[in-house]
Amino acid sequence: MFMHEILIAGFGGQGVLTAGQLLAYAGNFEGKCVSWVPAYGPEQRGGTANCSVVISDQQIACTLVTEPSLCIVMNQPSLEKFEKAVKPGGVLVVNTSLCEKKATRTDITVVNVAATDTAIELGSQKFANMVALGALLGAMPVVDIEMVLKAMLKVMGEDKARFIPANREALKRGMEAAKSAVHA
């Protein structure tokens, strides 16, 4: 059974909702059942935000992910909140650029990636979500990255095609980081 429950969390504005949508669309393109649910903290902007993505070859039961098999945390508060929720054997991608502490669990695969720093290297903080997503897909190839890029055009509009190369690069840089992952 193909079934991934993914949670992507961070500050609002870090693109965590978009990253999740891209995953869901990509899964949809690949013929899977998918769902995506956003969640926001009480803050109006810059507060916490996260999204649940489920990709499965069967009808999806619960669209809200509370115990992710795959998880990306883009900042320290999210790491603190969600590290313990990851299913044993699951994958946790940590944006080390914005996390002072490290993940401590040993029963999961932890992928450390300096997503924000890498993104800045690539020209803009905005790519951090794609770097982290790349890292996730490096550790667990849930969908093909070309599908993620195709999804980008769908979500953001065809006129954003010029950003594809940079995003592809960001995804790749993330995937590389996954190679050095700490396996459970």
């Binding site: 500050f11 810059g46 320290q76 914005l98």
Partner: protein, 70 residues
């Protein structure tokens, strides 16, 4: 008039309004990120401060405390 200025960086949301309001370039945006996830303002040239309170008036997070030094 000389003034003593304190800026509570951990409450700052990096809106830049204080920096824009300060007539004496006492303030600038920092490059660090605080616990709230923002790049806070910081005091870069405290000596220049006249205590005009423009920064304190515009700051939505009441980050500034200013003393008039007699």
């Amino acid at each position: 008039m000389r003034a003593k200025l304190e800026l509570q960086e951990n409450h700052c949301k990096g809106c830049e309004l204080c920096v824009q309001a300060c007539p004496r370039d006492v303030l600038a945006m920092g490059s660090n990120i605080n616990a709230l996830g923002y790049r806070p303002a910081s005091i870069v040239d405290p000596e220049k401060c006249t205590g005009c309170k423009a920064c304190a008036l515009v700051c939505p997070e009441v980050c500034f405390t200013i003393w008039q030094v007699a």
